[in-house]
């Protein structure tokens, strides 16, 4: 049991780290295709034949660790997955509601009792190297991964029933654990691996996808060409598909403006807001809520001498920050303010809690009550990408007399602070989950054996218990009750941190680009098989 938990937690951490490292600005949410996209589609009717041809170039912010070797991709879904998916496909995909839908797997059965998942594969699919996509290939991929991959090691073994049927045996079976195996494990050709070796395969995907890998240059571009033998007839539409790796945001914007790329991902909200003026450019604003990327600030409450040990002080801080205004000005509306772990429209949101509205007067009162009428000094540790936000927070806290130093630290230092060293004052707090699963959300920080933040500050026992109970609970209503209790314990009873908002990840494309198949959840996904462009 313990091991599983740790591994699962580690998976989440992995994701967090990649969010932390992402060169793009803070932000990003849930979603499949944005609403605007759908509207625009209705306007022009295009015949199927007009969709063929052309090349689409997509700006991404950083070179993925690997986009060819399935275990490496699964280990580092962000930013590997979106780059790998044009060539390597997964067994399933998320739909608009965040549910997993069949893809390479045409169907599956889940047996809670037996703790198994039986998977039925699509037939007649071939890898780019001409070998067959079958149970053996899938088993091979999973065998590579389950021993090393933290979250998938919940899978005990993979059993081949026939050429296109497999049974996954789970060691421990918790709610949502199967999602990963369907969505973040890309299936590559074992033959190609044998030929190329791990290093050769590393950045050379050989899969079943609509595009075949063509060429790449580290930190420059990754190019795919049309897979003429794609298993869905008539797809893809494009001749080729290219990623351009442009870390610098301003360069990226310029590149996009000069139409040297057609889609620009991973841009900061302010850049997007700035560019949201041209009629040629579409801002795709994902709005469906099926996952969370939350940002807050978390104090170190473990030192009893620190003012932050006083819950009144912590609440005062939450009252001192105008999160609505922040969301509007810093994120230009591409983030939604929230006073709890989830958004107000979520089932897990507890409507009975103090909204912690922006109220500096009240903040000052609380501070005075706690014995700090003149405020105090403290520090917020942040990383470069979020320094701007933390400066804004700093400004708000200054108004109620709390003098904050914003210390921008290197990622390595930041990691070591939240892992082991601890910190005085605040750090930025990033939380992340698929869906509104408070269990998966809070486990790494406030669960029974937390590895980040919580292991330094010490988490109240009732919070830990609630996290565990929530995780094991399968029944809907109970889950909502537990979620509300959890929100209440974390936010009202202990006020462990100050939530700011849940962010979205808008991106830019020109209006001649259609059906791009980009969506983000716990990771970004890019499924461009139906992508087409106006001539």
């Amino acid at each position: 049991m313990k091991r599983r938990n740790v591994n699962f937690v580690l998976f989440i951490i992995t994701m967090i780290i990649f969010v932390l490292t992402a060169c793009s600005d803070d932000s990003s949410t849930e979603v499949v295709e944005g609403g605007e996209e759908n509207k625009e589609q209705g306007v022009t009717e295009t015949s199927e034949n007009d969709k063929y041809g052309g090349t689409v170039k997509v700006r991404i912010a950083q070179q993925p660790r690997s986009f060819g070797f399935p275990p490496a991709i699964a280990n580092n879904p962000t930013p590997s997955i979106p780059v790998a998916l044009p060539a390597l496909e997964t067994l399933g995909r998320f739909d608009q509601d965040g549910n997993v839908q069949p893809w390479l797997a045409r169907d599956w059965d889940m047996d809670d009792e037996a703790e198994t998942v039986t998977v039925y594969l699509e037939e007649g699919i071939k890898f780019h190297d001409g070998t067959d996509f079958n149970s053996e290939a899938v088993k091979w991929v999973f065998d590579q991964i389950i021993d090393t991959h933290p979250s998938l090691s919940a899978i005990d073994s993979v059993e081949i029933i026939d050429d296109h049927t497999l049974v996954f045996h789970f060691e421990e079976y918790i709610s949502g654990a199967h999602i990963n195996m369907f969505t973040i494990v890309p299936i590559g050709s074992p033959t190609a691996y044998e030929e190329l070796g791990e290093e050769g395969n590393w950045n050379h995907p050989v899969g079943t996808g609509p595009f075949k890998f063509d060429s790449m240059e580290n930190n420059h571009y990754i190019k795919f060409v049309r897979n003429d033998d794609y298993w869905i007839d008539g797809l893809p539409y494009l001749d080729s598909f290219e990623f351009r790796i442009i870390p610098n945001e301003t360069t990226a914007i310029n590149t996009f403006l000069a139409n040297e790329v057609d889609i620009a991902l991973h841009l900061g909200a302010n850049s997007i807001a700035e560019l949201n003026t041209s009629s040629d450019i579409l801002v795709v604003d994902p709005t469906t809520s099926i996952g969370l990327r939350g940002i807050g600030i978390i104090p170190n409450t473990s030192d009893p001498d620190s003012p932050l040990a006083d819950i009144r002080v912590r609440k005062a801080i939450s009252h001192a920050i105008d999160r609505e205004q922040l969301a509007e000005s810093i994120f230009h509306g591409y983030a939604t303010a929230s006073n709890q772990l989830t958004l107000p429209n979520s089932w897990s949101y507890n409507p009975d809690l103090d909204p912690f509205e922006y109220n500096p007067e009240k903040a000052k009162e609380l501070l005075a009550e706690a014995g700090y009428p003149d405020g105090f000094q403290t520090t917020i540790y942040t990383q470069n990408v979020r320094s701007f936000l933390m400066q804004a927070v700093q400004g708000y806290l200054a108004e109620v007399g709390i003098e904050v130093e914003v210390d921008v630290v290197e990622q390595a230092r930041f990691m070591s602070m939240i892992y082991e060293e601890g910190w005085d004052g605040f750090t930025e707090f990033i939380y992340y989950s698929a869906g509104d699963e408070l269990g998966t959300l809070l486990r790494p920080f406030f669960g029974p054996s937390p590895v980040l933040w919580g292991n330094i500050i010490g988490i109240p026992e009732n919070v830990v218990d609630l996290v565990v109970n929530f995780d094991l609970e399968m029944e809907e209503n109970n889950r909502q009750r537990l979620a509300h209790e959890l929100q209440s314990a974390v936010m009202e009873e202990h006020h462990l941190f100050t939530p700011l908002f849940i962010t979205q990840e808008p991106y830019l494309k020109y209006n001649y680009v259609h059906d791009d198949g980009y969506y983000t959840l716990r990771a970004d996904f890019f499924t461009p098989e139906k992508l087409w462009i106006d001539k």
Partner: protein, 314 residues
């Protein structure tokens, strides 16, 4: 001459030794465990230990250094954890790009900077001189990344003359390559042009007042002849020193310029490796850049000999 080259090579080796030491030390003073940072947070203790072992991080500093240095001498710059490639492989595509841009910038610097400096010196106090002086002052004071940003904004976005970013080798696609390379090279060269212009101007002004220029004039030579044949050749000596020093600046400049124009050269490799904590690559990049500069300086020293026969080595 032969003895000089050998002596100079020995000196170069001493310098290179210190270069490796410095480069190695930069990595050593990094806080935290490089293995942990490289592998990221998902790494297990075993993985970290394995990497530590692989990187020799458990050995004493001296042993680590000599192992690393021995590898470097044997042409093994290490293995990038992030890219899963040997560093040599990683660089093989980037080094030529940076070199192409750097050398082009150097050539542009020489072609533009020296003649303008000479013209300014000859017309001291005149209109051209004033323009050159003002331009060189501005050129030296302007951050090159800022100049690049302005260039992109006006030349690419507003006027659409040149591409915004990227790199196409001019050797495979002359026209496209030239288009991508022209702005980075000019921006990169701007500062060095300014310095070279200034240096040439002041060196020329100095040389013009030398006795031998008076001698040349006393022979009734044409003024142009006096300036070019007698003046410039002597003025070039300090200019070459400066060019040698500027080489380091040009290579340093590529770090910023490659960011601005998103060119996949050594500079962007270095920057991305710094941010990805791919220390092996950082180490290798700094080393290669330093070695390049060291050898460039060696070359400059040898070039002196061609221009100035007085330089008696030893």
């Amino acid at each position: 001459m032969g003895a000089f080259i050998i002596k100079r090579l020995f000196q170069t080796i001493a310098v290179l030794f210190f270069v490796t030491l410095i480069v190695f030390m930069i990595i050593q003073i990094l806080p935290g465990d490089p293995a942990q940072t490289m592998l990221g947070a998902d790494a297990s203790q075993e993985q970290i230990q394995k990497l530590r072992e692989e990187l020799g991080l458990n050995d004493p500093f001296i042993v680590q250094y000599f192992n690393w240095a021995a590898g470097v001498i044997g042409g093994d710059l290490g293995h990038s954890i992030f890219y899963k490639e040997t560093v040599i492989n990683l660089m093989s595509s980037r080094f030529p790009i940076t070199l192409t841009i750097g050398i082009s910038a150097l050539i542009v610097t020489v072609i533009i900077g020296i003649p303008l400096g000479v013209i300014a010196a000859v017309n001291r106090g005149g209109a051209i001189d004033s323009v050159v002086v003002v331009l060189s002052n501005i050129g030296i004071a302007t951050p090159n990344f800022w100049l690049g940003i302005l260039g992109v904004y006006f030349l690419s976005l507003k006027l659409g003359w040149l591409p915004v970013q990227g790199y196409v080798s001019p050797f495979t696609d002359p026209i496209g390559g030239l288009k991508t390379i022209i702005m980075p090279v000019l921006v990169l060269a701007a500062t060095t042009i300014a310095s070279v212009m200034r240096q040439t101007r002041s060196a020329m002004l100095e040389v013009i007042h030398q006795d031998f220029i008076r001698t040349a004039r006393s022979k009734g030579l044409k003024e142009r002849f006096v300036i070019i044949k007698h003046g410039l050749r002597n003025a070039l000596i300090p200019v070459i020193t400066l060019l040698g020093l500027q080489l380091g600046n040009i290579i340093g400049g590529t770090v910023l310029i490659e960011q601005v124009f998103n060119i996949p050269g050594m500079g962007s490799l270095l920057v991305s490796s710094v941010f990805m904590k791919d220390f092996i690559v950082v180490q290798a990049c700094v080393l290669v850049i330093a070695v390049l500069v060291v050898f460039a300086n060696l070359f400059v020293d040898l070039a002196y000999r061609l221009i100035d026969p007085r330089i008696k080595y030893n």
